[in-house]
């Protein structure tokens, strides 16, 4: 005789509850079709609106019958939060779908392997591509990593390892810096370097402007990751007679390695699509410029910007395809950061 007690979940929905939910949804679907057919209200929005109104009404009726006014309020809250989440999902879905749908039309091999040296943005699709701006964006990203990683990670080390007297102030300033508008970062580089020194628009200046935007992201993520490294590890290092420098370099940083890489990737994702600072700092160029300090350069966001301003159907098509390329880049970075980050958290 086995006497294993099966766990019960008295709060879970019973078959009867499910049946009621299904029934009310079914009735609301019918009602929404009927109302749209019978009244002058038209469009997808009308279907959604009437569906939700009638669903809420019918479900509230059932809830009132069983649980009274409190039950009605409870059900109402549940559905309204669901609507909030649906609106957000609809916006994201619409953005992704439009980008993929419109972007793939202009995407071909030439688009990512040629430059615009012999083509203008008004030429038909298939002539010329955005290779130069992909190269430009990669140069910008590489330089920004070079500038912002030392600043970001060392600031995070100050906040987590040294915990010096200025910690609170620095934390505050890093947060303030993360709110600097991107257009101000670009204006600053222009005001400080282009107006006062012989330096002119180049990938180098663009990367400096992007660094201002990237450092706070890197610092904050790195700080969170370093805080996750167990205290025991640090104490073990110090107890073995290591200096603080050795402990940090050989114990703490290796333990947080994948998390720190995530921090850098998130920083790159933050700046990869920035447009406004680049308008002031990198200029425009139609073929590949490998020299970051001399000569104007191109980047994917500025190409999109010019396509959008160009206005002709071809220019706009190029903008959509370029933004698809940019979006794929951001998605790849995002997935990389996620998978690395998950691994870092599990340790």
């Amino acid at each position: 005789m086995s006497s294993i007690v099966k766990p019960t979940k008295p709060w879970a929905a019973s078959p009867r509850d499910r049946a009621i939910t299904a029934l009310s949804i079914a009735i609301s679907v019918v009602v929404s079709f009927a109302v749209v057919a019978a009244t002058p209200m038209k469009g997808k929005l009308a279907y959604a609106f009437i569906f939700f109104v009638s669903w809420i009404a019918i479900d509230s009726l059932f809830a009132f019958y069983r649980l009274g006014v409190k039950g009605v309020r409870n059900g109402l809250a549940e559905k309204i939060t669901l609507i909030g989440a649906l609106i957000v999902s609809a916006a994201v879905f619409s953005i992704l779908w439009t980008t993929i749908y419109k972007g793939t039309k202009g995407l071909n091999l030439a688009f990512v392997t040629q430059t615009m040296r012999e083509a203008s943005i008004f030429d038909p699709i298939g002539k010329g591509g955005i290779l130069h701006s992909i190269v430009g964006t990669l140069i910008l990203i590489a330089l920004s990593i070079l500038f912002s990683v030392p600043m970001g990670i060392l600031t995070a080390l100050y906040l987590t390892e040294l915990k010096g007297r200025a910690s609170a102030l620095i934390q505050f300033l890093v947060q303030a810096m993360s709110g600097v508008p991107s257009v101000v970062a670009g204006l600053f580089i222009y005001a400080a370097l282009v107006l006062t020194t012989p330096l002119r628009s180049s990938a180098f200046l663009g990367a400096l402007a992007l660094t201002i935007l990237m450092v706070p992201t890197v610092t904050r993520t790195a700080q969170e990751v370093l805080n996750l490294v167990p205290r025991d590890l640090r104490e073990a290092g110090l107890a073995m007679g290591a200096t603080q420098w050795k402990t940090v370099a050989l114990v703490v940083v290796p333990a947080a390695r994948s998390g720190l890489i995530t921090a850098v990737i998130l920083g790159v994702a933050r700046i990869a699509g920035e447009t406004a600072p680049l308008i002031f700092t990198i200029g425009a160029f139609d073929s590949i410029n490998w020299n970051p300090v001399k000569g104007e350069s191109a980047s994917i966001p500025t190409i999109i910007w010019r396509g959008l301003l160009g206005g002709s159907p071809e220019a706009v098509q190029r903008a959509w395809s370029a933004i698809l390329v940019l979006l794929i880049l951001v998605l790849l970075l995002f997935v990389a950061a996620r998978s690395l980050g998950n691994r870092a958290m599990k340790k």
Partner: protein, 328 residues
């Protein structure tokens, strides 16, 4: 025979000190120096924007933020007369940003509640990823989408609002042109700031003390009763702080707003009409053909924007750090 007295040499007592090794001193010095980079960069930004924008600020004086005219004309003697005033742009920025906040906060809070208390685990995981992804979308993508996809829909909504609520001043329009209005710009902005507000709200909601939640249930509260009595009062500070962070982002947004807003140097309170202002977008609009004096004026405008966002962010971070314990 006598044993030679052994001469005991007592080594000097070890000096115990807390003075770090040289390597540690160097390490600490380097880290400390770099940690001040945020301070240095922020002060350099303020300094250089002030230096390069100073000539405009001196010429225009207080009128720089109280007049709405923006023009450069040459008078009879060939002397350049410049009027630079940001008033219309500042008013426009505030209108758009607060309207965006008004649209975004309810949706973001509802989404955060849905994620914390209603969504099944599988949906929750997907939706959290989607919202994080939304925060990583480039702003120019929002601009493009807003112009080509949202605008046609939003014009239709604007016409509906005008038809039924047109008797209220702010929903009235002098001419029936609804494209590129502050209304549309604020919808785009609200979608951009929803992820920020949602993630901060979710963080505070999920930190609601479990004992209070269970106490509410034990007293017989429904889920909504529990949320209203426990979660919302507890999370209110975080929601306000998150909204202010979103407001800071909305103030500084450039490219997305530029794509969907018709910038006119005249204060306009009729949100459905195709005429609005935004400091950041104005800067890139005027940048292309700006002469020397105008560049200075634009840099001064950048300074005003910088100070504005800095103040909002200070306030936001103060509120968030007080209500979110884990520290963001």
């Amino acid at each position: 025979m006598s044993v030679a007295a052994s001469t005991k040499v007592t080594p000097p007592a070890r000096v115990i000190t807390t003075k770090p090794r040289v390597s540690d001193q160097i390490f600490r010095a380097i880290v400390t120096v770099f940690s001040f980079s945020a301070l240095v960069i922020l002060s350099l930004i303020a300094l250089f924007l002030l230096i390069q924008g100073f000539s405009t600020l001196r010429e225009q004086g207080f009128g720089f933020i109280t007049h709405f005219e923006w023009s450069i004309t040459t008078d009879d003697s060939g002397k350049e007369v410049a009027h630079f005033g940001l008033q219309a742009m500042l008013i426009g920025t505030v209108i758009i940003s607060f309207l965006a906040l008004l649209l975004a906060v309810p949706i973001a809070v509802l989404t955060a509640l849905f994620l914390t208390y209603y969504a099944p685990d599988s949906i929750k995981k997907i939706l959290v990823t989607v919202i994080d992804l939304m925060a990583a979308f480039p702003s120019i993508l929002y601009g493009l989408w807003g112009y080509f996809v949202l605008m046609p829909m939003a014009i239709y909504w604007a016409k509906l609002i005008h038809k039924w609520l047109g008797w209220i001043y702010i929903f009235d329009v002098p001419q029936p042109i609804f494209a590129r209005s502050p209304f549309i710009a604020s919808i785009v902005l609200s979608i951009m700031i929803i992820p920020i507000i949602t993630s901060v709200s979710r963080e505070v909601f999920s930190q609601t003390p479990l004992d209070r939640v269970q106490a509410a249930y034990a007293l017989g509260a429904t889920k909504w009763g529990m949320i209203r009595a426990v979660v919302l009062p507890y999370g209110a500070g975080g929601v306000v702080g998150g909204s202010m962070l979103g407001l800071g982002r909305a103030f500084g947004e450039t490219v997305a707003v530029y794509s969907v807003l018709n910038i006119v140097f005249r204060p306009n309170y009729q949100i459905l009409f195709t005429q609005g202002g935004n400091v950041a977008s104005m800067i890139i609009q005027k940048w292309g053909e700006a002469g020397k004096s105008e560049v200075s004026a634009l840099i001064a405008a950048g300074l005003v924007l910088f100070i504005l966002t800095l103040l909002v962010n200070f306030a936001a971070n103060f509120i968030v750090s007080r209500s979110v314990k884990s520290g963001r």
